[in-house]
Subunit: 471 residues, 2 copies
Amino acid sequence: MAAKTKAVTKPAKGTRDFLAEELRRREHVIGVIRDVYAAHGFEPLETPTFERLDTLLGKYGDEGDQLVFKILHRGQNLVDGIRSAAAELAEPGVIVVGRSGETAPSVERLLADLGLRYDLTVPLARVVAEYAGKLPTPYRRFQIQPVWRADTPGKGRFREFHQCDVDVVGTASRVAEAEVCGAVAQALERLGFDDFEIRLNHRQLLSAVVEASGVAPEREVDAIVALDKLDKVGVAGVHAELVERGVAVDAATRLLDAVGGARGWDDLGPAVANVERGAAALDDLRQIEDLAAETPAGPRLSPSPTLARGLGYYTGAIFEIAVRDLAGSLGGGGRYDGLVGMFSGRDLPACGFSIGLERILVVMEARGMFGALDGAADVLIAPLDAGLERRCLRLARGLRAAGLRVEVAPGKDKAGRVRKSADARGLRHAVLVRADRDDAVLVWSREAPDVTDRWVEEGALDGALAPQRAK
Amino acid sequence: MAAKTKAVTKPAKGTRDFLAEELRRREHVIGVIRDVYAAHGFEPLETPTFERLDTLLGKYGDEGDQLVFKILHRGQNLVDGIRSAAAELAEPGVIVVGRSGETAPSVERLLADLGLRYDLTVPLARVVAEYAGKLPTPYRRFQIQPVWRADTPGKGRFREFHQCDVDVVGTASRVAEAEVCGAVAQALERLGFDDFEIRLNHRQLLSAVVEASGVAPEREVDAIVALDKLDKVGVAGVHAELVERGVAVDAATRLLDAVGGARGWDDLGPAVANVERGAAALDDLRQIEDLAAETPAGPRLSPSPTLARGLGYYTGAIFEIAVRDLAGSLGGGGRYDGLVGMFSGRDLPACGFSIGLERILVVMEARGMFGALDGAADVLIAPLDAGLERRCLRLARGLRAAGLRVEVAPGKDKAGRVRKSADARGLRHAVLVRADRDDAVLVWSREAPDVTDRWVEEGALDGALAPQRAK
């Protein structure tokens, strides 16, 4: 069973192993987010790692479908699938291998029946349909789980990463927007962020401004995609892209005049005065700001008339978290009234916010925002002579009962090596047990200079070390 | 995007959705286990959901390999794979579809490159090889993550389930056995188990008894597999199976005489007096019992001379957790010195214990061992008139700051309906906000009869509700 050759032992492309230190940081962030969401009365949800392909495909566009990891059929279904796939492969034009190496989905469907979760929204939609009678209305849930995308991995881009979603399903009330923004703002504040903005815009407002500027209806999506880049490429850059995408020159100019310099909703009033859904969107935004003023999101909201986000998806307000030192966003969300009902066969109003765990961690690490998290064990107990293992285990039990995290060395070692190892690993104390004293032990302590290198009575050991645990 | 037809919305076969109540129970159990393992100085580890197929296959036997969920190649690799697989399929005898629907692994390897984690031991072995220089020696880690097996699902058998593993890698010291058994015993006690046994045996002892009984060496595995069933089929049943498996009748009789009635190690002394590894194994077991006496495992250890467990795997002591009301075990483990070095190209002594989360939950639920876990929100705040949403959000903020979990209703509702909903969902309090009183709110409380159906000043609300939170 033990092959004695050195194998490839890196994790698979785009995935990561989390050793103790990094994992503790991840768990700290997840713990804070979970606690804040729970304090806001959101219920936890977890769904399976894989879903039926029927559930996943057709929801994320062709490009998204390609990025779903698909699980091979098993047994006879696989044999049949290979035969059918080979037959399709023989048909000219069925398989298209392009730039990004696409395979016709029809062929993949012959070989696979399951796929890895691509986001947390489609599983939410499935859950809402499946347990309709069991869930409270509105259903307020959070879900913090990994998702998988067969993307090309790169710096900060992984094939396995965590999303932290919080959503309210089943109400059109703007209390939902206020609550998800408030919960996200409080989570970020608890994590130590003091400089973030929640950029705010509205899908219908964007649409109305585009119409009012005289952009042809069939160019609306192009216009919004171009506008979203204003921060990056500036007015001239967006104008060029608008024209390149087929927007008339004068319409492009009017659109940029309308939103380019707008600092708040009032600046857009004239532009949308004649488009009804624009005025309704402005009312909506003002109501959200009014409600959010009572939540931690209040002072964070920043009107952002060019913010676009996930075009096909949102139907109302849209949000995005911006911090100075990250080009992308820490997360985003909005109202998406058409999506969650996809499996229920009925429209269900919904509003949510998704934070990217990896983004949060990148910024927190770059800024040194992690304080002293619990490290490895507090105490290493090591025997310096043979035959003392049992005594070490007894001491460990006592210290563990006093609330310390205690590691027992497997066998006899030298005092210097034990101290050095405890020091290098960031442990707080080492307890050295010698055969010539059966009532006391030698202590090394990073934190208590009055104790270090002294003999401490065994009965007094928890008193000498345990109080140091409280910060 | 929203297709208006009712789709299949159950989770995929063998997987489960976890709604709030069940998830809280799972998180409670995981939290207790994690805390106890951390108190024992074990470090957390998490590894990716999928591994290279090269990493996974060939480690679990042919049957295990079949049960690994495999992820379809993408892009051109898939096209090439289909062509090659179809060609192999045309060769007679390459694909074998049997009772359980096996496909030749060679064909699957053409179509897939990744597989879902099948257990937590192979990833541990990979991690130990990859980060050899970064990990402490011995490396004491715990890992609590889901694993996936393409098994036929059944009652209590899932395709996605959690394992909770704790292992010590890199020492042959029996302190490792004592520590993993002690940690497991303490975790079970903290969860409320007061009646479990840790059954103990030794792979080399089994082997020695079999040899001393005159069983032919090539029948050793058969003999041990048969012996393991003594609890289930009795002495006569095991004797019949031994003979059926090719063990000589008199050897079968001697073997059963040796172990069938043995209550402790002393009863086996004569049987292994002439087989050196048997005597060494007995020494080993006695040392483990001596060390474990200083841990919570001490009084739980139960000598079990017929216990066999995972034959190909273990090299020394083996353990298994037994409770009265579960036919299988809650978990098991042992020493497996050959396995973890599989990727390092060197033997690494190792010893560990794996608990099945689902097994624990089944027993705890059947026994009613879950006390009052945190439920949904503590408080539901609901407006009874229009236009009070902002006031509700302000009240929510205050109560959340006081440590209560608070849900805000999306809009105006009737008092009776709010009370009924709060009651049905197990919430502790409801706060009803009316337009005719701007200084006080109506309270309904499950827990505080002196407050319920009374007006409470807004400023006194946290005082009236928050103290109830402490039990």
